[in-house]
């Protein structure tokens, strides 16, 4: 019965081999797919939300606060002006008064001790008060300036994000004509309305190739609507009208 023994042995070997292959596959498979790099597609989801009264109130409050701040700034400015004129007068006044007794003193830091020495507490208090007020005003002005500057920076950053998004939209809608060559460039001027819809596209600088220009115009028109900042000032500054430069850089022609 060597024939049967041969069969049994070969069955054993075959099963062993398949088991080994399956085992290796199971082990390697898991290790391989443990780190999948997935690029999430960009979804733009739009949803209708009702503004709740709290938010509206908060916004109103914010607006009121802003208005108040503006007023305050104005006040401070006017107060400063007034103070400056007062100081100008004061300069004259103490000089006059001290003139009769002694002399010197130009800045009020120097003035104060002089005045106190002269036993005029009312004037001294007034000066001190004024000094304190001035310091306070300057501080608030500096804080406001700083805030404004920071706001401008974030606005710029935000509009950069929008610009990038617009670029991406246009590129994804752009199908270059086969006649496109490296070195061609078309400059388009695009006009938007605040909702981001394209109202007009004009060729500002033609590439010299009609098909290329047309493809660029079509790319913008196909995009139809861009995402633009909701803040009106930001929109007006950069997105009301802007130019787009089309260059077939990634073509290897």
């Amino acid at each position: 019965m060597p024939k049967l023994a041969g069969y049994v042995f070969s069955i054993f070997l075959a099963v062993l081999l398949h088991g080994a292959v399956v085992g290796l596959l199971l082990i390697n498979w898991q290790a391989e797919s443990s780190e999948p790099t997935r690029i999430e597609p960009l979804y733009i989801s739009a949803s209708l939300i009702r503004q709740n009264p709290i938010q509206i109130r908060r916004r109103e409050e914010m607006a009121a606060k802003e208005r108040a701040e503006q007023q305050k700034a104005k006040e401070i400015a006017s107060r400063r002006q007034a103070r400056e004129s007062v100081l100008a007068n004061k300069k004259l006044v103490p000089v006059e008064t001290t003139d009769s007794t002694q002399d010197q003193a130009e800045a009020f830091t120097q003035q104060a001790p002089m005045v106190s020495a002269r036993q005029e507490p009312q004037l001294k208090r007034q000066l001190e008060e004024q000094f304190r007020l001035q310091m306070e005003d300057e501080l608030t002005l500096a804080v406001m300036e700083e805030q404004e500057r920071r706001k401008a920076v974030t606005d710029d950053e935000k509009s950069m994000a929008f610009v990038a998004q617009i670029q991406q939209d246009i590129v994804s809608n752009w199908s270059r004509p086969p006649s496109a060559r490296n070195g061609m460039q078309a400059l388009l001027r695009v006009f938007l309305v605040p909702t981001g819809e394209v109202v007009e596209v004009v060729v500002q600088e033609s590439s010299g190739n009609v098909a290329f220009d047309r493809s660029a115009i079509l790319a913008v028109q196909k995009a139809e609507q861009f995402q633009v900042p909701a803040v009106a000032a930001q929109f007006e500054r950069r997105f009301r009208e802007f130019t787009v430069l089309f260059r077939p850089e990634d073509l290897r022609l």
Binding site: G6, F9, S10, A14, H18, V21, L26, W29, Q30, P36
Partner: protein, 225 residues
């Protein structure tokens, strides 16, 4: 979602048709490997026996004593021994019957040896057709499973409202496993088929040469009488 998709999940999650295809292919692969191993043993043992026998045959021993030795063994003679055994048996029987009619005796001997030769060829080539079938058809079977699986996954894509790659990818992946198994079964089978048919040809040539030599020896022994 982010956890690694194991091959086991893919196989278990495949549709019934694809699973059947995979089962068929795995069976085919298993059986073809059994054949491959079994053929190795059979062919090598036949070659070894032929070597031993030929050295004994050409050592100048008496042919009758070799014949008796083969006959007394309990197993049926295989390979080159089978050729010798049937040829010599026919030779002794025909000589008793026809005496000195050399041509008739040799005709019978050659016919008997040809029968033995074809038996041996049959034995050598057993299961080679199976390997050939596996080698040529299992890629197609695997392809069928893959096409079916991809068909299904695209049908699922049509009903999904958000078409993304991650919806179809698992289906395609599981469908491609069928092709992979088909190739896994087919490649060794084709290689083994080619290799073994070449080996069988070599062995058969050797047997034919031996039967010619043996019949010429027998012929000479009749003429010398």
């Amino acid at each position: 979602m982010n956890e690694p998709i194991s091959i086991l999940h893919l196989i278990l999650g495949a549709s019934v048709v694809v699973q059947i295809v995979m089962a068929i292919l795995i069976m085919a692969s298993l059986v073809s490997w059994i054949m491959i191993f079994q053929r190795i043993f059979v062919l090598s043992s036949i070659r070894r026996m032929a070597n031993v026998f030929e050295s004994e045959f050409w050592s100048g021993n008496d042919l009758r004593s070799i014949f008796i030795e083969i006959e007394s063994a309990d197993a049926d003679p295989i390979g080159i021994e089978h050729l010798f055994y049937s040829g010599f048996k026919e030779f002794t029987r025909s000589r008793q019957q026809y005496g000195t009619q050399a041509e008739r005796i040799m005709q019978n001997v050659q016919r008997a040896m040809r029968v033995a030769l074809s038996r041996e060829e049959e034995r050598l080539e057993a299961s080679l057709p199976f390997l050939a079938t596996v080698g040529s058809t299992s890629p197609y079977i695997g392809l069928f499973g893959t096409v079916w699986g991809i068909m299904n996954s695209f049908r699922g894509l049509a009903t999904a409202n958000q078409a993304s790659l991650s919806v179809v990818a698992p289906g395609i992946s599981e469908a491609l496993i069928a092709t992979a198994i088909g190739l896994f079964a087919a490649i060794p089978a084709v290689i083994a088929y080619n290799r073994y048919s070449a080996q069988v040809e070599v062995i058969m040539n050797r047997f034919e040469a031996f039967s010619d030599e043996f019949s010429s020896i027998l012929n000479r022994s009749i003429q010398n009488r």
